[in-house]
């Protein structure tokens, strides 16, 4: 809406108001992060008395030492890495192959194959039958309980399908004439041309598996199998339990909790925050691609 017309007074007022609103949005979005970092580096006494806000008070990193010296924390962090790699790998293979099949417009039965996937976006079995299924398949306490039930996200599938459809058909036809079979075409021609979308898919899946907690919470019975999200969940849920009975909130243990919780939150957020600037644009382009063409 760029114009050469001289801005009116009303418009100039709008620009100012707009700037104020957007600044507000930025501040409100960032504030919880700043606050949690400040709390994680503050002295207990200041936190308890409600004095920690934007800056740490009674600066110290003791709580970081506490959390990082807990072997279970690292163990669970390692689990998160392991689960994310396995689940992303499985998801990538299944999503790529199915999206490729669905992108072939001439294929007989294609409408049905698409419908099989899309219907599940709007209707699903629900928590209980899924729980019974995973339990009965004997997947509990293994990485497969996390990887298999979430192996294909239909939204991601449609994004990838849209991308494959946009590739020029001539290339694949030429490759087929040269004697490559379907698998060869997919592996040697299509995938090398699809690095951008594959990277996007890796990120979509990896971030969602990295962040997930409920499957693990449901299907992992032992602490040493938890991902770090469940570690954090148990830390914060434990504390609400304590707060609920009121009096305990004043006890020493609850006081230690306040910084420990903040530190754990900071340490689990850190990897995402570190790579966020680099991955953000892939997400945006992926979402837009899925929406425009899906």
């Amino acid at each position: 809406m760029v114009t050469g017309i001289r801005p009116t007074r009303g418009y100039r007022a709008f620009v100012v108001v707009n700037a104020i609103i957007l600044t507000g949005v930025v501040l409100v979005t960032l504030y919880p992060f700043v606050n949690i970092v400040a709390r994680s580096m503050s002295d207990q006494a200041y936190i308890i008395s409600g004095q920690v806000n934007l800056l740490p008070k009674g600066f110290n990193l003791q709580a970081y030492g506490h959390v990082t010296s807990d072997p279970m924390f690292w163990r669970n962090y390692g689990n998160t890495v392991f689960y994310t790699i396995v689940a992303t790998g499985v998801a990538l293979v299944l999503t790529t192959t199915y999206a490729y099949v669905l992108s072939k417009k001439h294929l007989k039965g294609r409408t049905f194959l698409v419908a099989v996937a899309v219907f599940t976006m709007f209707f699903n079995g629900g928590l209980i039958p899924n729980y019974i299924l995973v339990t009965n398949l004997g997947l509990k306490n293994s990485v497969w309980a996390i990887a298999l039930p979430n192996a294909i996200s239909v939204f991601n599938l449609l994004v990838m399908k849209a991308f494959f459809e946009s590739l020029p058909a001539e290339l694949e036809e030429a490759a087929a004439v040269d004697g490559l079979n379907t698998y060869g075409v997919l592996l040697r021609i299509v995938l090398p041309l699809s690095k951008a979308i594959v990277a996007t898919m890796v990120l979509f899946y990896a971030v969602s598996f990295w962040n997930s907690w409920f499957s693990a919470f449901l299907y992992m019975d032992r602490q040493e199998l938890f991902p770090v999200t469940v570690y954090l969940r148990n830390l914060i849920a434990g504390s609400t339990g304590a707060e609920m009975s009121g009096a305990i909130a004043e006890s020493d243990e609850a006081q230690v909790d306040a910084t420990i919780k903040s530190v754990t939150i900071v340490l689990t957020t850190l990897p995402i925050l570190t790579i966020y600037p680099f991955i953000q644009r892939y997400f945006v382009s992926g979402i837009t691609l899925g929406a425009v063409k899906g």
Partner: protein, 329 residues
């Protein structure tokens, strides 16, 4: 997101053969299938594993819902032991807790839709007016950030901010109020839920609108200006109609997820003191089924929820197709 058609006529093999000249059509259909398989068997083979996934982990659980009408014994088969008819359905219809969580689901879902659906549109329009590229990109990047956080982290932040020593209570004390444990007070739960939901989703929600905004023909603005339209009127008559299909599509999708209101987040931030307003169908299903082990009863309630969800999205889609001509398929 305009998803492929699922209501189209199904492919030949799955359609009922037309009656009178049946023999011929069927034979012809079979022959062309044989040809298709001979030609494309490698493609079909690639679909086998993904199809297995859908059958086992998506469609089997749908069928698994029969346990809502059957007696289920833990450790037994996944489809239960014997039929009990509508026993569990009658049971939840007569269960006062069910109606309370049903109410809570509608209220929370409604409030979320009311707040979290329009806000991204407003933010996208505001961002669209920013002339300085780098500034716009900075605001966008910051506002997308919460989307990338695990819900557990968000819950942790909510708890820290609302705790007795947290920032919200610091504000309350600063204006002379009495600090209070907001997460333990049912009257605050809805506000907490909806505002944290807005915090997490508003920025990310602008992406599709911003993309739609770039596709609006600039000549339309030029024409509107020549007709003497103010900026406000340009927004009203050019911009909003330009992003209407996106708005309608997202509205339908939002309505589809209406019944499944933020299950994971509620599970993380509610507690027995706030069940009165915080407990929704999905969390109730979790507690009844997984925690207390009444799997059949919980499945009956869960099935009810899924059916309402499907009905909502289908009717929203139908209404939208009839009225504004936009639909998902």
């Amino acid at each position: 997101m305009s998803a492929p058609r699922i209501l189209d006529p199904p492919p030949t093999t799955f359609a009922d053969p037309p009656l009178p000249p049946a023999g011929r059509t069927v034979r012809k259909g079979r022959r062309s299938w044989r040809r298709a398989i001979r030609k494309d068997w490698q493609l079909y083979s690639l679909a086998i594993l993904p199809l297995l996934f859908f059958v086992i982990f998506r469609y089997l659980p749908m069928i698994g819902n029969v346990i809502a009408f059957r007696r289920f014994r833990p450790g037994g088969g996944i489809f239960g032991e014997y039929w009990v008819g509508l026993r569990y359905v009658k049971m939840f219809l007569g269960d006062p807790t069910f109606w309370s969580v049903f109410n809570n689901t509608l209220i929370l879902g409604g409030l979320t839709l009311l707040v979290c659906f329009p806000l991204p549109i407003v933010l996208a329009l505001l961002l669209n007016e920013v002339r300085t590229r780098s500034l716009k990109r900075f605001v966008q990047s910051v506002s997308y950030l919460p989307h990338f956080l695990s819900i557990v982290i968000v819950a942790g932040m909510i708890m820290q901010m609302l705790s007795i020593d947290g920032v919200i209570n610091q504000l309350v004390s600063a204006v002379g109020g009495e600090p209070s444990a907001f997460l333990q007070r049912p009257e605050w739960f809805r506000a907490i839920y909806v505002s944290s939901e807005a915090w997490q989703t508003v920025g990310w929600g602008t992406i599709l609108y911003l993309a739609a905004l770039t596709t609006i023909d600039q000549d339309l603005y030029e024409a509107a200006r020549i007709d003497g339209a103010s900026r406000w009127r340009q927004t009203w008559h050019v911009t909003l109609p330009g992003i209407r299909p996106t708005m309608v599509t997202l509205l339908i999708l939002n309505i589809g997820t209406f019944m499944a209101v933020g299950f994971e987040k509620i599970l993380l931030i509610y507690n027995p003191l706030t069940y009165e307003t915080a407990d929704v169908i999905s969390t109730y299903v979790y507690r009844v089924g997984i925690v207390s082990g009444n799997l059949s009863y919980a499945a009956a309630i869960g099935l009810f929820e899924s059916i309402i969800g499907l009905t909502l999205v289908l009717s929203a889609n139908l209404i939208s197709r009839r009225t504004v001509g936009t639909s998902l398929w």
